[in-house]
């Protein structure tokens, strides 16, 4: 007996819809669960006082500082490299074997798991260059990790700038570099900022690559060569060593909110960029 196509369709759509609903429910549950358990422990004092007794008491202030500084260092290093690469690929060369190799390198780098970055950063920056566990080692490692994100988003943003803009600039006698600097980059800026935000979001949430390169000191860093502990690393240590579930939940809540806010800002930026383009 053959099932009528209409009925098959109803069955199929029901299954697909249930699967989608399940996905959304799981993801919303995760955020809801962490926030409901964590938010009661979050207040100004928690955010602004330093951790005491390994994190059993006190707040998360020094880890908050680490979470701001480390992605900042990473982005300061990766931004010129990433945007420079994107400008070269889109404005200064045609598709050749070389550009294909460069793009392939970027794609591969994007697929490397963070533990490999941690392993590399540890042996190269921490041990071989004798920098030790510090802000700079961690920042350099993260910079390599987020480089593909910045290259891709910047390139997309640059390619979205209409050709006519460049032609007008050239016809006014501007050189290629002047055109890039005064016409292309300013118009691609929102897209580039989106990439930077995504890179910051990823850096904030990263643990494996950070713990082996930036260390986990709870002291306030005073130079690039001091070890820092980010919120993710702090949360991992609190949770894994069973130091304090209550503080762990509160830290997780702050962590999730920070990452979501940064990513939301990135999407908002991208949306504005796209809607301005299509005008």
């Amino acid at each position: 007996m053959r099932v009528p196509p209409k009925i098959t369709q109803v069955i199929a759509v029901t299954i697909l819809g249930t699967a989608t609903l399940l996905t959304v429910v799981i993801l919303v549950f995760i955020i809801g669960f962490v926030l409901s358990k964590g938010l009661p422990g979050v207040n100004a004092e928690f955010l602004l006082s330093a951790p005491k007794d390994m994190g059993r008491a006190g707040g998360i202030f020094t880890t908050l500082v680490g979470t701001v500084l480390l992605p900042l260092v990473a982005v300061i290093i990766a931004l010129p490299l990433g945007v420079g690469t994107a400008v070269y690929l889109s404005e200064y060369t045609r598709e050749t074997q070389l550009t294909r190799a460069l793009r392939f390198g970027t794609d591969c780098l994007a697929g490397i798991p963070s533990i490999i970055f941690g392993l590399f950063g540890f042996i190269f920056f921490v041990v071989m260059l004798k920098m030790g566990w510090c802000l700079l080692s961690g920042g350099l490692t993260l910079a390599i990790m987020v480089l593909p994100t910045i290259i891709r988003t910047s390139e997309e943003a640059i390619l979205a700038v209409p050709k006519s803009y460049r032609e007008v600039s050239f016809s006014l006698g501007a050189t290629r570099w002047e055109t890039v600097l005064k016409v292309v980059l300013p118009n691609a800026l929102p897209g580039i900022v989106t990439g930077v935000m995504l890179a910051i979001g990823r850096s904030i949430g990263e643990t494996a690559a950070v713990i082996f390169t930036a260390g986990s000191s709870l002291r306030m860093p005073s130079s690039m060569f001091d070890s820092v502990r980010t919120m993710s690393v702090h949360f991992y240590i609190l949770a894994c060593e069973g130091i304090s579930d209550e503080k762990a939940y509160a830290t997780a809540a702050v962590l999730i909110i920070s990452v979501l806010l940064v990513n939301l800002a990135a999407y908002g930026m991208m949306h504005r960029f796209i809607s301005r383009r299509s005008k």
Partner: protein, 285 residues
């Protein structure tokens, strides 16, 4: 003079453009340089196929970790791939566009939830559930597979949705004009047309699951043993690296880099397959 300035800019930009490729090569060289000599020192067979892991005694068999990584990754795919692809099909074909415009970014936003948070939820919610219903310690192959399956959902959904949305509308119209129902047009025409993109999303997700570290350390239990049941604790390749890194020196540290080499090679192969699947789709169009 001006021409010269332009040349300098061009060549410095070219130099900068090598940063990503150079970093990749630097990473590859360092991991290989530290890891490969060790493999030959210990012997490939004793490294890859022995179940005896005891760095203090000079035993470095990572076979249980390889098996564990495979189980956990495939388990994650069994959960993540069908759910993710189903979600992608539903969102692109059976939901009005405005609704999809809300749900898809929401799901992508969730890709940003740090892996340690997933791991923590695995410990606090999932592991106790497994312990009370199925026995065992709770921290297990099953827990790791479920958590990873959830973690890869945004990857699968996001890339599959793009692939399905890229199928030309004329395909849908053609199928519907021939009298097919929506579902028939989806499973007979659209899924076939978007196949390579869907496969790419699953392979990329596989690479992510295989490479995930912190969440797995928290929920897999980390015992070096070939699992006999879904509820047995295991230690994956990534967990092995992260757990022993802190206090490993000499030969033991080299062993971790050798573990890294295995991971690196497998993930590079997976990525190459996924990338070529995506590229062939682009070329076909």
């Amino acid at each position: 003079m001006r021409i010269n300035g332009e040349k300098i800019v061009k060549y410095s930009l070219m130099l900068v453009a090598f940063s990503a490729l150079a970093s990749l090569l630097l990473i590859a060289v360092f991991i290989l340089k530290e890891g490969v000599p060790f493999m030959f020192k210990v012997g490939l067979r004793d490294f890859l196929l022995s179940s005896d892991w005891n760095p203090q005694a000079g035993k470095f068999g990572i076979y249980p970790m390889i098996v564990a990584s495979l189980y956990v990754t495939f388990g994650a795919m069994l959960i993540g791939a069908p759910l993710g692809v189903a979600g992608a099909i539903f969102l692109t074909e059976f939901v009005p566009t405005p609704v999809m415009r809300v749900i898809k970014p929401t799901i992508e936003l969730l890709a940003g939830i740090p892996s340690v948070v997933f791991g923590f939820l695995g410990v606090m919610v999932l592991a106790p559930m497994i312990r009370s219903t199925m026995g065992g310690p709770g921290l297990s192959v099953l827990a790791a597979a479920v958590i990873l399956g959830i973690m890869v959902l945004p990857t699968v959904i996001s890339i599959s949705t793009d692939a399905i949305a890229a199928v030309p509308n004329s395909y849908r119209e053609g199928a519907l004009a021939l009298g097919a129902t929506r579902w028939q047009s989806v499973h007979m025409v659209i899924i076939k047309a978007a196949r390579s993109g869907i496969i790419a999303s699953i392979i990329l997700a596989m690479g992510r699951a295989l490479g995930e570290t912190m969440a797995v350390i928290m929920v897999a239990g980390n015992t070096v043993k070939i699992p006999q049941a879904l509820t047995d604790p295991v230690r994956t390749l990534t967990a092995n690296i992260a757990l022993e890194m802190a206090n490993a020196t000499g030969l033991a540290r080299e062993a971790l880099f050798a573990t890294g080499v295995v991971l690196f090679v497998v993930i590079m192969i997976l990525n190459a397959i996924a990338l070529s699947a995506i590229k062939s789709r682009v070329r076909k169009k």
